[in-house]
């Protein structure tokens, strides 16, 4: 590992398998990624690609009864989260790393006021008096645009967008170094989504928080991220800076995703969908995962070794064609 590779957060060869009946679901296959302080990574993929599993593995909140195995390393400031004991893990969650869930309705406790929910976590991690924790909670609420006059209300008194703001305040109360945001705006309307994304951006810049944003929406990634990793069938198939991936998408799947989106600027007769369906995650395949749906497939794909190909510094694609025939 070189000096530069000592990112403060790094996932190395993370593999997660679930069991379902007597089949093994290969949810995450050999995923590696890294993040520097203050950086935002967009993790893009479709339903079932393994995005949420990665986030849950990072915080070790995978559903225990169905996990078959977790291997690899999740390094946070030099320590492997997967090897941590309960005590360290407790300190880590919520204080160093916190998570925003997709559904703000279920992420808040309906029988506690929002201020007490935010103050609780802060008190727990800082061991400070209640008054100080409350003060912090009010400051956080004000930061996300909720006045102190609403601090003593219950979650059901807030609308969807406001609830998501509360969730964000809750996640940022302990000034975490890393924020995992799992589809934070998917449940919201576009105008509210715009407000919330702006808020997340502002707070991230103000607090210098690094962030992993999980989403299926390329538009959201374009808006907020520095780096992008595209995930397909549990594997990262393309990664690089936002400019790399958006201006020069290299992997046929990434290209397909862009082509399938109706574009406001362009007029097309028909969209170009990616034909077929994602592969069955319970089957280990030989060769490229995307092969069956790929418009460029050829014989060599069946023997593809699934290694990343580096196109330019930091821009990787898991397709043997990239770097050869691609510009």
């Amino acid at each position: 590992m070189t000096e530069k590779n000592e990112a403060f957060f790094e996932i190395q060869n993370l593999t997660v398998e679930y069991h379902s009946g007597n089949a093994i679901i290969h949810a995450v296959n050999d995923v590696s990624l890294s993040l520097s302080q203050g950086e935002t990574l967009g993790l893009v993929g479709e339903t079932g690609a393994g995005k949420t599993t990665i986030a849950r593995a990072i915080l070790r909140i995978l559903p225990e009864h169905s996990v078959e195995s977790v291997s690899g390393k999740v390094m946070f400031e030099g320590k492997d989260i997967l090897e941590m004991n309960a005590r360290d893990l407790h300190d880590l969650r919520g204080r160093d790393i916190s998570m925003i869930f997709q559904d703000p309705m279920t992420a808040l406790n309906p029988v506690k006021t929002v201020i007490s929910q935010i103050a609780e976590g802060y008190k727990l991690h800082h061991g400070c008096p209640q008054a100080e924790a409350n003060e912090r909670a009010i400051k956080m609420l004000e930061m996300v645009g909720i006045g102190a006059n609403r601090a003593y209300e219950y979650p059901h008194q807030f609308s969807g967008g406001m609830k998501q703001r509360v969730v964000i305040a809750l996640a940022l109360a302990c000034s975490p170094k890393l924020l995992l945001a799992d589809e934070p705006t998917t449940a919201l309307d576009v105008t509210i989504q715009a407000q919330v994304l702006d808020l997340i951006k502002d707070l991230r810049d103000e607090l210098g928080t690094a962030m992993i944003l999980i989403t299926h929406d390329l538009g959201v990634v374009a808006d907020i991220c520095d780096k992008v990793a595209v995930i397909y069938a549990g594997r990262i198939i393309e990664s690089g800076t936002k400019e790399d991936v958006f201006d020069h998408p290299a992997h046929p799947y990434t290209q397909g995703l862009f082509a399938a989106l109706p574009d406001l600027e362009k007029e097309v007769e028909r969209l170009s969908p990616i034909e077929g369906l994602p592969p069955d995650p319970s089957v280990i395949r030989k060769g490229c995962d995307f092969m069956e749906r790929c418009p460029h497939r050829c014989d060599r794909c069946t023997s593809f070794d699934n290694n990343m190909v580096e196109l330019s510094t930091g821009h990787f694609s898991r397709c043997y064609r990239t770097g050869n025939e691609e510009a």
Partner: protein, 318 residues
């Protein structure tokens, strides 16, 4: 050309413990045969209620619905049966719009068996034909909905809607529960079907880029009212109502180099319970003035372009 469907001053109110919910409030529009009208708006704006009222899943409170020149606002049982052969619906959630205890072929056959207009053999034949049309493999005939992915389920829902050769289909967010790559498949299918069968769609969605892709005409709804209505290209070239502008500017685009000025709306949508006379958008509107505190009505600002905003004329110049 005469409109296939015409809606005049349609209102749908619901009673709730807090007062009267104005889900659809005085909405008028028409749809020409073979065309698609897109109905856009955010959650709670009444677009789904409007769609459901059109096909009589709700009974309207006031107003008239004219289909093929005939008033269909109130129908008796017999008329309803005939009406629903021509007017069908595709639902939003492919996970809940199919009965979990019916097989794919049972679901597609049901409308035909209920209509009693075909022999058993004909029904079988037509079922296979429909599965072919919507692109569901025949080997899945005996599968249950939960065994299919979202895209296939939605195809089955489309096949059910097509079974009786309808003329007009209300599509209620048919792609919003689907992944991008699958969404494109279903949108293409809907457009192909329209071309082949001359279908007319009312396409309800919250997604501006989808509505732009599929519609000829677009209606924008806000809190039960129509705030802007015009040709698709006109709407995107000259969005006029402040809400339409905000909606368009809020769409996250995949063009990372576009420098877009985003209009951030203040606050959130008001409650639809007894909303009062004033412009329903004015509390969030950046252009709001004293004069906005009164009822707004759709006015034609250029041929075919209707806006419900008293400052529309001024805004078109900005």
């Amino acid at each position: 050309m005469a409109a296939l469907l015409e809606v005049r001053n349609l209102k749908k109110y619901f009673k709730s413990p807090g007062g009267t919910v104005h889900a659809v409030d005085d909405v008028s529009f028409e749809i020409e045969e073979g065309k698609t009208v897109g109905l856009v708006g955010e959650s709670g704006c009444g677009k789904s209620t409007l769609g459901r009222t059109l096909i009589h899943l709700n009974e309207s409170t006031e107003g008239t619905i004219v289909y093929k020149g005939k008033d269909v606002t109130h129908l008796n049982k017999k008329e309803m049966v005939a009406f629903r052969r021509e007017v069908q619906m595709i639902f939003q959630d492919p996970f809940s719009s199919l009965d979990p205890r019916q097989t794919v072929s049972d679901i597609i056959k049901e409308p035909m068996l209920l209509s009693k207009s075909m022999s058993k053999a004909k029904v079988e034949e037509r079922t296979e034909e429909l599965m072919d049309t919507v692109g569901v493999e025949k080997r899945l005939r005996m599968s249950y909905p939960h065994e299919l992915d979202g895209g296939r389920r939605q195809r089955v829902g489309i096949a059910r809607a097509l079974a009786l050769n309808p003329k007009f289909i209300v599509c209620d967010e048919p792609v919003s529960a689907l992944d991008v790559s699958i969404q494109a498949q279903i949108l293409n299918l809907l457009m192909d079907l329209q071309e082949q069968m001359g279908l007319t769609y009312l396409f309800i969605t919250h997604d501006m880029s989808v509505v732009k892709h599929i519609s000829n005409q677009i209606c924008v709804m806000y809190l039960g009212q129509m705030v802007e209505k015009c040709d698709r290209n006109e709407l995107f070239a000259h969005p006029t109502h402040p809400y339409t502008r905000a909606l368009l500017s809020a769409i996250p685009t995949t063009d990372i180099h576009a420098k877009k000025e985003r209009i951030l709306l203040k606050g959130e949508i008001k409650s639809p319970i007894d909303p009062g006379e004033e412009c329903r958008f004015c509390s969030r509107c950046i252009y709001a003035k004293e004069e906005c505190k009164k009822a707004q009505s759709l006015t034609e600002i250029s041929p075919g372009h209707f806006v419900a905003c008293c400052r529309a004329k001024e805004l078109t110049d900005t």
